[in-house]
Point group: D2
């Protein structure tokens, strides 16, 4: 009996691409039940910034469990939560002069987006939100309305409303892209808001990823983000940065927007924030907006997970000094040097920032065959973007240089052989 | 510095009612950082059916952590997941002849409802869903549209659509209730579906709790549920039972609908399913409906949590034999005997089934003052229902008889003294 | 060449039932191009209360045309409009102590409903409106959302939103009807508005016909209407009476609600108001609501039609004294006496008030075959209600007794012969 | 007693700008009750293409009335309707090789748009429609969602959904306009339709005016319209041309799009079609789309007005030969020559095509003061566009050259004096 085929929902997806049963994992390595090891360039879709089963975190969690620390506590105050909040405030917020409040909700990215949308609508008294082409923000109905991909949208079964779609401002346009991105489209948008007969009003919020990881590793230009921020301010719209996949150190800074001159009203965090890959989600909200919440208006059984606070607090120690971020810069170099030659091939494009890279193969079938070769060779890598044509390289930040190079070699060879075959 | 007042979002709610910092917990007891102990009649809003930090589960999780078991794995197959699925199938589904498939999604109840709604709409090609007065189904936009409480609905900031509201069929009408519940309202509803000029069409699904726990511990009558099930079948609508708060043994059977002649198309589970109170959500879906999913249409980073599989698998052992369920029956008796005298007072009503009881005080201010007295006396109990006027008694199923009786005594005395004061 | 089959849209409907080409008409008689005469029991679906081509009106209109009177004038003041408004105020409003303002809009019933809905939403700041089972309010999107019939609703192509559907309070339940109408359903509704956890809020307005003419000649009981009016007042919802088909004298009083103790906030009029059957629509709006309009917010090219003002002003003379209304009472008697025996047959029901009667045949095919026999015999009568099973008798109020009796005889004989055949 | 201030709704608008009581009218002249005459450059907002009370039409209508011709007939066949349909087919459709069917609905422009939207959604199975910045399509909810002006939209009281807004492709950008119109925006739009991750799908229809008359006399370029038509064809979207205000000869051809290489699926007509300014609306629908209607799905009491058929049939005689259209070309010249010098002033722009001209004053207050001066001088002219800053010159096509020149002189002098005063 194979319980998965017999009893697991047909909706399972990644499990079809990597059809083994995983058992153990450590940093950038996963092991299946037959003992075969895989280098992990997927990292739980950006969850495992600090690797699988980080030793310090495991130790802290085991200690907590063995000491009888409270595990489930709704939104009650706990010592574990306090430690996490104090560390986050001191390590991340205070150095940046961010006065934001911390809001915990159901421990998923989509829930953090839902909460942000509610608050933005409350604060502004407006209904419509602007999201961007190729954006990905989750699966629950409010967040799904902001997600661009048609496959996901088609599953809604109802109209997805109160969201207007604008072109995302890619730094480098994707090959063959004609979506009219860039600064001009922002100017057009602002002009419509100023014109009372345009039929278009300023939104409650702009919901934006600085790098669209699911959307194909599309990196917004700083100039575009800064203009977007200025427009939000001009029209009284909130700027919400969905930093769920590319925050928490992924780009070489804690926030993906560090170094860009924007001032988000709300930052959505999840994935990496819990350290070990146990669920947690948290919004950073400017106090002047946060005060519009009434107590208990957006609840959830699992907001505030103590295991995630314990491990997440350990993770924050990576940001006490520059060691990890410097490593990220060095590994970014390694990734780019390894992959740049592939982008010399016609029809292939390399995009990315920090330790998230996208190798756009221009073709989903080709991308998939590379994935399959890699998997056979012991590398887990996945695809993103339209038709899954972009290979996404998003290893743990803590991956060893050896594993990183070994994984890249597998990927490069798989790509070269696929290209050679096609030629 | 108090980090909570300084930096936690104003939306915090329970933390305002129980303004201490919790530190440790064991079965039905929580301890704050000053060492004060509290008997827990709240149990994480129905999460902690098996108590805080159950020893067997803690041991299993610690073993898993120390053995390097994979923690985060998206929807990949893992050995931990296999064990859980096999145990669930063998222990729960097979004895009931349920062919349902298991779908994992983002690990929150609201997410399981969102997935169920999508599938029901897909299967039927219909948009509207029927939910019931006083129903509670979550906070994300699709589930929120099904939730009745106006406080939560007002936070949406947009219209909540595609949901029709029908009266819930309470076994015992709440005192003063004029909502027109009962079998007659189901007959009216069916008549409208049959009449092409009624302006009302059969829905994609009926989404129902057998006991509305958040809504005030309103228990549906078996006759009403059975008629509802028959109507769903007649009109090709899916019957979705939201068993998130009252499933997993709460009523003295695994499912709250065991013993009632209905055949749910989808059962939503969360809260208790993960054993220890770490997040997990799972829908049981009839295979003929499940096959309408396309792979990956409803995703989520945290679907399938291995820690929750490990602890949840331990929890299933409670259902290998009748010991715990027999205990539940005995403790139900204890609760009812303790509280029945209070319901002799004018304006007080006792409702419930199994180990979830509601003491309707008819007045939210009075209920709150009882809660405050209890908390001072070392008992955590909370309120539900309109204006929070119903005290909800939902202790761990595993609570010791001593703690149960001690807690009940605190509650009874607090109630009596409040009533005496008012007289 | 038949231009109709070649070039007229497939959507044509009545023209398929009465497949001749009409040429001339006078009071209750229409003549086709072959000279065949038809008694008219349809009267333009309630438009021709004063018959086809009333002599006084024709004379007044011809005089106006020949004198160079302005025909098209948007919403400008004209002498023709002034005369109409003054006569309407003096003849209809002042005797009833109604302070309502007169609003003209695009000259169709659906447009008057759209304007009423907008204003009710503006005044209350609420979105949802309550309309009733079997109600008919028009075809444009806002009014269509209030219309119950599924055939019309299905043509929308989009979700019809912001309307809740409640059971209509029939005086006499239709045979076989199980829609749960009556006073109890209003009590249930009010209870839900009072209960904050019901998931239902009071609406912006209740939109109601006192007699659902298209819906099957369903007559609301006075008690139900009066309770509805009281509920509207209690919850700050506007009471909108759609008197488009049964106002202007049809029931033996000018308004269909004369003699019933309700106080509508808005009354929608169209159809009969223009006298000759040229387009006009007008809302009567209480001044305290009307003042919420900003100038020009609801416009329309054809609001205020001077030909309709001229003929409509003539029509108001019928209400200077009791002559016509007394005739209506007498003819109502004639209709009821003629049709009552048919209602003795099993499965046939007679409903109605004043000169609108519905003979519910319980079966649309049977009703249609009676219509066809009548038409062959020189009587135009049509069907309404679910599946078109109700024969609707709605002749001009001014029909001669001879024509009325002749038409009734044709109808009775056609019905009897159809029943005999079926037996 | 002034009945208008006492009893007419506060919503009245034009009547406030021209606060007299009109009594008679002839061709391009209106006379108030004091005998003062006004030259009419407004023509009922484009209704009176053939002037007020055209003698031939008045005679035909009087003859019809005096002969007992049937006036009200729902959608029944009548001889008057047949004559109109035959003449329209022969005069307008056949010479253009248009196989379109003729659909009559409630006799207003907004109703014709509602019907067109329903059919487009039915044919394509899609919900969303694209309408354009500054577009005006009516006041009922479905059409209003397509209208851009915020004043009108704000009156809805509910969300306006299922419409996406794209920039209109002005031939000459308005002064100061930054709306990003033009061909590039169409290319961007098409690119989004091609990209499955854009979050944007092709619409059911593009609803477009070739000249936005209410929107400020914005003339679409032929190149833009042709590209739009090609995109509609590529993506299976219907092209709906709203020719309500600028069809029926206004531009010097019968249709405003004559001579432009587009092939509309549906053409909406109203206003001028009825000849004398009595209500009529008609859609031209390609047979392959029309067949998707089921009989009676979109009804309306006043579809098919016989007086309008009689007068409208007379109006079609103007298109039997080129006389009127040649006159239009000549008068267009006169208008342009008179107004061109004004456009030399900084901040003033002249736009238009055929006998609809817009003089954009860049400022609504200035435009209004010119209107007031003109009115005092005996010229009725109105404003359109954002904040009413564009003077719209839209006289009857049949205006005498003398009246045209006299009116233009008043307008020019009023403008010059206003400018002089400001300087």
């Amino acid at each position: 009996m194979n319980i998965f085929t017999e009893r697991e929902s047909d909706i399972r997806a990644y499990a079809r691409v990597y059809p083994v049963v995983f058992d153990k994992a450590s940093n950038a390595r996963m092991t299946d039940e037959d003992g075969k090891e895989y280098i992990d360039f997927f990292a739980g879709a950006g969850v495992l910034n600090f690797g699988h089963n980080n030793e310090q975190m495991i130790k802290a969690v085991v200690d907590y469990l063995q000491s009888g620390g409270i595990l489930h506590s709704l939104d009650l105050h706990t010592t574990a939560k306090r430690d996490f909040m104090e560390a986050f405030t001191k390590t991340i917020l205070e150095p940046r002069g961010m006065a934001h409040k911390l809001q915990f909700m159901g421990p998923t990215g989509t829930n953090s987006v839902e909460a942000a949308l509610k608050l933005a609508r409350r604060v502004t008294g407006r209904e419509e939100v602007v999201a961007f082409t190729k954006g990905f923000h989750g699966m629950t109905l409010g967040a799904l309305a902001c997600t661009a991909n048609q496959v996901f949208r088609n599953a809604a079964g109802v109209s997805l409303e109160n969201v207007a779609r604008m072109p995302f401002g890619c730094e480098t346009p994707c090959q063959g892209c004609e979506l009219g991105c860039g600064l001009a489209s922002l100017d057009d948008m602002a002009a419509k808001y100023r014109e009372s007969s345009s039929g278009i009003k300023p939104p409650a919020a702009f919901l934006v990823e600085t790098i669209q990881a699911e959307g194909g590793v599309n990196v917004a230009s700083a100039a575009w983000l800064e203009k977007l921020g200025a427009i939000a301010k001009e029209f009284g719209s909130l700027l919400i940065v969905d930093d769920i996949q590319v925050g928490c150190g992924r780009t070489g800074n804690y926030f993906s927007f560090d170094g860009i001159d924007i001032d988000p009203d709300i930052v959505c965090l999840a994935k990496g924030i819990g350290g070990l890959g146990t669920p947690l989600a948290m919004n950073l909200v400017k106090p002047e907006h946060d005060q519009h919440w009434k107590p208990g208006e957006h609840t959830g059984t699992f907001r505030g997970q103590n295991i995630s606070f314990i491990a997440g607090r350990e993770a924050l120690k990576f940001f006490d000094n520059d060691t990890l971020m410097n490593e990220v810069h060095a590994k970014t170099e390694i990734i780019n040097q390894a992959l740049a030659p592939l982008a010399q091939h016609a029809g292939i494009q390399l995009r990315g920032k920090g330790m998230v890279a996208g190798l756009d193969m221009g073709d989903g079938v080709r991308a998939r065959s590379i994935i399959d070769i890699c998997f056979a060779q012991g590398l887990v890598v996945t695809a993103c973007g339209s038709e899954g044509r972009v290979l996404k390289i998003i290893p743990p930040l803590t991956i060893s240089e050896a594993d990183l190079k070994a994984g890249l070699q597998i990927l490069v060879e798989a790509t070269e052989s696929t290209l050679a075959e096609a030629a």
